[in-house]
């Protein structure tokens, strides 16, 4: 179970903007620790956002995404009070789901 995300969603003129800040190490697998040993790769592989059961954003990620990633995306539709859920899965099989209520 990963650490919580911070999600903010707001709707304006029929377009919902979602801002997601995630907590993840995102180790590339190329870095070394203080003893010179390789730090094993550990990164988010899939991100999915859903609104009322409809997938509004889907992404496949790799090592090039930074630590503690920040994602902003927009989709058509959405109304104040409705929920947006964001899910990520990493290469170790860990996952995290968080949700936010859309504000006006």
């Amino acid at each position: 179970m990963g650490n919580p995300m911070k999600i903010r969603a707001s709707v304006k003129d029929g377009v919902t903007e979602v801002k997601v800040l995630m907590q993840h190490e995102m180790a590339t697998g190329l870095g070394k620790d203080a003893e010179g040993a390789l730090i094993p790769a550990w990164f988010i592989t899939e991100v999915k956002a859903q609104h009322q059961g409809r997938t509004v954003m889907e992404a496949q990620w790799g090592q090039s995404i930074s630590k503690n990633p920040y994602v902003v995306f927009r989709f058509k539709g959405g109304a104040a009070g409705e929920k947006v859920t964001v899910t990520w899965i990493d290469n170790k099989g860990d996952s995290r789901i968080d949700e936010a209520v859309i504000s006006a």
Binding site: K6, K19, L21, Q23, K67
Partner: protein, 272 residues
Amino acid sequence: MRTSNVSKAILVLALAASHMALAAETEVSDSDRIAQYREMISDGNPADFDEMAGETLWKTPGGPNKASLETCDLGKGAGVVKGVYTALPRYFKDTGKVQDLESRLLTCMTTIQGIPEEAITAKPFNSDKKKSDISSLATYVVGQSKGMKMKVSVRHPKEKEAYEIGKRIFNYRAGPYDFACSTCHATSNVRIRLQDLPNFNVKKDAQSAYSSWPAYRVSQGQTRSFQWRLNDCFRQQRFPEPKFVSEATIDLAMFLAVSANGVEYAGPGLKR
């Protein structure tokens, strides 16, 4: 032979042309681009997570005394965190010393919670292996002063003294490089690295620099406290490493804080 000279000449021309094209395209300066980058990521500051962790640490009973820090006096009364950072460093009667935020937190953690001082000062900064509690606490407290005006006092003689010593440390040249803080931070429009460094003799520079620390450093993936900032400045000058919350660091912080008085505090910040 002749052909190679001709091709060289063509190459030179081509290079000159591409340089001109480049110059026309890049009317946006490097610092503008950095400002643009900061603007883009300013909404998603991972320091928020440190603030959340710090708030939990502040409110949860801990240490051998199983006490929370909610009775800690940071200058505006026991348990008050709102706006305290705008008046730090300051003189505290109970300890008889001028203290910055981190040294005051250290006092509270040792006296109220009963945590041995060495347990905190041994590793006071965040690392990839371990988050530092005192750093998270400091991030939480500074966040409670966001949008409030910096108003650090030098009325008490000890505060005045700290300010004067801090000013001298700022200008004190020493070490193998014969550097002082002022070597890099007292001239405008001159660069020692890609990013412009703030000139602390200019009020506006001092204000924007001071009000954006502590900050999350994207390149290091960590939130960096103000004590870390000073510690690393000393390291870059190849000075001996200062002790965590030593008088020298507090006096220097006092000088920098007073230089920034009047600005709206904007931290925790976000740096490249």
